[in-house]
Symmetry: C2
Subunit: 343 residues, 2 copies
DNA sequence: AGCTGTCATGCAATCGATTGCGTGGAGCTT
DNA sequence: AAGCTCCACGCAATCGATTGCATGACAGCT
């Protein structure tokens, strides 16, 4: 196990001072060095197999070229594409990311923010904020560049990237109405998650714009974004005795659970009841009936957040950056929605 | 934006030397300090909100408490659980991980190994090795602790963790034979990936142990582990004109693609042809017919690899560590396999 | 020829924590 | 009371790269 090559080694080899070597190896400062000397130094660096020590540089410059990425849970299929989006922007610029999972727990979230700070990350992309976290707020106050993803932040000038939930719900509602549905139920997501909240609000708004009264009895709220909650909620809707011919769900997994339970109750989708999802998660094309849903740009959202963060890292003031970036969404009509059955 | 608190600040505050502060704050060296003084220092550290600078410590100790994790692609659903397994072991010990995606490209793999080395990771968990990579070999030679996952490494004493592919294929073959199948086809995975290779070899071995001759015509090889290749391969098998009543696939996605194409050709699964998968990936319970497959311990594999790496990091010699760790697999019988149809 | 300006390079401090070695004082022995 | 041991703590070097400032040489100008 041989010792690593340092600037000092190159300096000794080439007979110049380490500071000269340092300057010759940095493309920005190289212009201050005679071309001939710079080339000699570069050649020596190459020959000796020099690899800069980022730790040492980081200590001096206070930049680690590392960013923290906070997500609720990597096993949730919507996050990997987001991470690839982030990576696609950050990696070419020489940044690496440390990914942490909060599991939606506030206490864990606070702790992990500090873990990231202790590690000296240059900035944070936060895709897991449930609500205002004091540690996150503190980090922001202390000057840590932060961008949030999938979450609107009211206070503070923290830039955020979200999908156009409003438009998505709207497009889906219009689609269902064009199919003749008039009694439309909603399975809302957890209200402590911003997506759940935003989509429910969007549903109420969209319904208000139609002639239809929004029957609060036709809104069931899930405690988690998963299949079993979708099933439970649709059961609750059925038990209410209220008639509905379509269920607009806040998320694909809720929709899948709902369809399954409806099927168990002898109701077929889309013949008897239309069901729609939201997110267009991977593998949806393999599940029957193929789900009509709202496609969101996961990869694009990651890229957008990363680009914003890079600007902050490069010294852009939050004021000159867009506080909100709203990504377009797209209706994807597949098989789980169809004409409303005759009454 | 206030300056961060350093050891020097605490030293000034408490009237002792920074080295004393350093020792008082490290549980290991604390015993060398008078209890009273140590408490005073800890109190001051607490009061001032001291957070150790890992970068500075890393420069001096040459340990970053960071490990690199190399995977082919995080959007492949089998990797997130592995990562959570790794995290569950590493995070409590104070390690963070930098995850990189190789996309199965050799050139990218080499480059990323160097990225990780430059960042001074203490060790690497490599779950993306396609074949021997010179940079990985070099890193190992230079003393970088490395553990590979899902890949057998012949040369060098690099410890590896793999699933018991052999046993999985064997169990599945026995299951199919118990259902009366005698003409069994295999859709093999890409042969440049170790899992593809191992499972094909296991299939041949297992067939050899039965009375049945292994008909090479009933083996189709996919170029990727995805649905379209599963479809293409099953088509190829059908085109061969050879009779088969079951298809043992090297991977769930190949199986899903195969089932779909069979269906399009008017062959139902499992009534006409039984199809089996491998991996038991998430969401399989939502796809009809529910796939019979081999469950592998993804989370457990991550944990096992992480535990091995920790031992290496703690100075265990490779010699005293198990070179191979083979994780048990489990047959999961669902709906895609059934009795062989009468001839 | 002498003076000024410019530019390449060297010098040394610095980032913050760790750690081998030195030292002074307290307590104990004879 | 002199000498000894032991231990808590201080001192200072160190990790490797960066960077403001100093310096020296050389060219150009009058």
């Amino acid at each position: 196990m041989k010792r690593r090559v340092t600037l000092k080694d190159i300096a000794r080899e080439t007979g110049v001072h380490v500071s000269t070597v340092s300057r010759a190896l940095d493309p920005v400062t190289r212009k201050a060095i005679t071309a001939e000397v710079a080339e000699k130094i570069q050649a020596a660096a190459e020959r000796l197999g020099y690899r800069p020590n980022r730790i040492a540089a980081g200590l001096r410059t206070n930049r680690t070229m590392t960013v923290g990425v906070m997500i609720p849970d990597i096993t949730n299929v919507i996050f990997p594409p987001i991470l690839r989006g982030i990576e696609s922007v950050l990696e070419p610029l020489g940044y690496a990311s440390i990914i942490v999972n909060t599991d939606g727990e506030k206490e864990r979230e606070s702790r992990l923010v500090n873990v990231l700070r202790d590690r000296g990350v240059d900035g944070i992309i936060h895709a897991a904020a449930t609500r205002d976290d004091p540690m996150v707020a503190r980090a922001a106050e202390d000057g840590m560049p932060i961008v949030t993803l999938n979450r609107r932040v009211e206070d503070g000038g923290i830039p955020f990237v979200i999908n156009d939930e409003q438009s998505g719900i709207c497009q889906m509602l219009r689609h269902l109405m064009e199919l003749g549905h008039r009694s439309i139920a909603h399975i809302a997501g957890p209200q402590d998650l911003s997506t759940g909240q935003l989509r429910l609000a969007a549903f109420r708004d969209a319904m208000a714009e139609t002639q239809l009264a929004c029957n609060e009895g036709l809104i069931a709220t899930a405690t988690h974004f998963d299949e079993s909650e979708g099933a439970r909620c649709v059961e609750q809707l059925l038990a209410s005795g209220l008639r509905f011919t379509a269920v607009l769900c806040a998320n694909d997994r809720l929709a899948l659970g709902a369809i399954e339970r409806l099927h168990e109750e002898g109701l077929n989708c889309p013949a008897d009841v239309s069901v729609s999802g939201f997110n267009d998660m991977p593998f949806l094309n393999l599940i029957r009936p193929r789900l009509t849903t709202i496609h969101i740009e996961q990869h694009g959202a990651g890229q957008a957040a990363a680009r914003l963060l890079v600007q902050l890292l490069n010294g852009a003031e939050s004021e000159q950056l867009p506080t909100e970036t709203i990504l377009p969404v797209r209706l994807v009509v597949r098989e789980s929605t169809g004409p409303a059955p005759a009454p």
